[in-house]
């Protein structure tokens, strides 16, 4: 009851020991600047950096010279969108409705440079509407950005048709793989995206470091101006410790994917099964099985106050999230959930949404604790004015 159980692994994850070990030398004795190659302190930092690049590349089946280090997922997304947009004057930025704000707002920021944003709808499970994407691409476009896995619903994109649609029209394709990397296998050669974003803190690495994969031969503009770091694309002395930590974290996470997928999917599906069977007027948001991230549970309860839902989970000892608490005026409403419900009979119905995301350090006992706490939480949530009126209106 008193100890907090951390079920918010889509928000961030605990640093793994492997990453910390890889970082420590660079936070202590190996403090050289990677650009100072003449003496060994600098040369060592440089070689750590290039080793990390190789490790990250290997985990994604990319080439080392296709990996550019950044300050995280947000920066990678911003670079991809703005860097691509500026190469096609007047071309639209085409994004899925369920993208992270780091993509949506980066797209919106291109308007002042003459790039309109086109938002492609998704279906009820969160899959991007490929017909709508094709229709959008009949006009001139600069870049398409569709995420590999959604941070709120855990829906894993069927990437093939999106890749075809973009490349048939010769449009650059970016994917935000921040939630996917280290959790599901990624092979950039199979995906054939032109750019792909990752962020270390989502796969048990440190915060404030990420990477942008840019396929060889892809011409996008630079993002940060200054020195010649990251081949002039992203100037600034590199975060060597963070980058070394990210590389180790990614290597470790990628190696654990088979076992972790099996373990987390089992826990996930137990929780999902419980919700489906035992909570009336509750709906699982997102896709199922292999098209859902292993640790993601996201559900909405009709006629439940979103903030109250979080308050009760927190007080019962669980760190969960509402999906996107801070994004819009009304508590509990999120652009992702709204996009999924656009064609649902429950569109516009008041609902509370909770996202429970399991990770490497969660145990079966913790999942059991959640299942034992849920009935009391649900009972309290349902004891409210609107649900009562709804039940009365149903003639029960």
């Amino acid at each position: 009851m008193n100890g907090q159980i951390y079920f918010d692994n889509a928000s961030t994850t605990r640093l793994c020991a492997e990453a910390l070990d890889a970082m420590m030398p660079h936070l202590t004795e190996c403090y050289g600047n990677p650009s100072s190659k003449k003496y060994s302190l600098g040369a060592d930092a440089r070689s750590a950096l290039e080793k990390a690049r190789e490790t990250v590349a290997a985990a994604l089946n990319a080439e080392p010279d296709e990996i550019y280090f950044t300050s995280g997922g947000t920066e990678s997304n911003n670079w991809a969108i703005s860097g691509a947009a500026q190469k096609t004057p007047g071309g639209a930025v085409v994004v899925a409705a369920t993208e992270h704000h780091a993509v949506l707002k980066a797209a919106a920021a291109q308007k002042k440079f003459g790039h309109e944003t086109v938002i492609v709808p998704v279906d009820g499970l969160g899959f991007t509407d490929t017909d709508a994407l094709r229709a959008a691409l009949e006009k001139k476009a600069a870049v398409v950005s569709v995420m590999l896995a959604n941070n709120e619903t855990g829906t894993v994109t069927r990437f093939g048709p999106i890749e075809q649609a973009a490349h048939e029209r010769g449009v650059l394709l970016h994917t935000d793989a921040v939630q996917a990397a280290g959790h599901i296998p990624i092979d950039v050669k199979k995906l054939n995206a032109d750019m792909l974003s990752i962020s270390a803190h989502k796969f048990y690495g440190p915060k404030g470091v990420g990477a942008l994969y840019i396929k060889r031969g892809t011409d996008i503009g630079p993002f940060v101006f200054g020195g010649s770091q990251e081949r002039g694309g992203r100037a600034g002395t590199e975060n060597v410790a963070g980058i070394a930590g990210m590389a180790e974290a990614l290597r470790t996470a990628a190696a654990k994917i088979p076992e972790e997928t099996e373990r987390l999917c089992a826990l996930r599906d137990r929780i999902i099964g419980y919700i489906k069977q035992n909570i009336p007027h509750a709906y699982i948001n997102g896709a199922e099985g292999a098209f859902r991230l292993p640790g993601n549970v996201n559900f909405s309860m009709l006629y439940v106050e979103g903030d109250y839902m979080l308050d009760l989970f927190t007080q019962s000892g669980f760190c969960v999230s509402s999906g996107s608490a801070c994004t819009s005026g009304l508590p509990g409403s999120s652009h992702v959930i709204d996009a999924l419900y656009a064609h649902s009979p429950h569109r516009g119905t008041v609902k509370g949404t909770a996202r429970i995301t399991l990770g490497r350090y969660n145990t079966e006992r913790e999942a059991d604790a959640l299942l034992s706490a849920l009935p009391e939480i649900v009972k309290k949530l349902r004891d409210n004015l609107l649900y009562e009126e709804f039940i009365k209106s149903q003639g029960k």
Binding site: T314, Q315, G329, V350, Y387
Partner: protein
């Protein structure tokens, strides 16, 4: 831990006076412009003393805690004294609310005033300073 004081947590995990009063002396429902949440308060008045108060809400933990506290504070008071209760007194009794949750305590104050208004309309007792509440349907 959650930005809530122990008192707040106690009052929303184990709220007092949550429920309804059948045949109340006064009942009022209000809505929040900020978050769209709703609060309904019921009063039983004998003589001019509030002998029972209950609430039902569609609101967050802070709203539940505020009305749990507000109902406890007005029981035993006269309707004139109850009229003086402010949301900040409720917040004080709860030993504080996070700044973004102050508006939730306003729901308790406004619902109480709406119930008092209903009572004064039904009973013909004039409560100085009281005016008709906003219609929640307008918000």
């Amino acid at each position: 831990m959650s930005g809530y004081t122990e008192k707040v947590v106690k009052n929303f995990t184990n709220p007092q006076n949550m429920g309804e009063i059948t045949n109340p002396s006064g009942v009022g429902t209000v809505g929040s412009k900020q978050c769209g949440d709703i609060m309904r308060m019921f009063l039983t008045v004998e003589g001019d003393v509030i002998t029972d108060a209950k609430f039902k809400t569609f609101g967050c933990g802070a709203a539940v805690a505020s009305s749990s506290m507000a109902t406890q504070m007005v029981i035993g008071k006269t309707v004139f004294e109850a009229m003086e209760l402010t949301n900040m007194q409720v917040v004080e009794a709860l030993e504080g609310l996070p700044p973004e949750k102050i508006h939730c305590s306003c729901l308790a104050e406004e619902a109480l005033r709406a119930a008092l208004w209903d009572y004064s309309q039904k009973s013909g007792v004039t409560i100085p300073g009281l005016s008709a509440p906003d219609d929640p349907a307008d918000m």
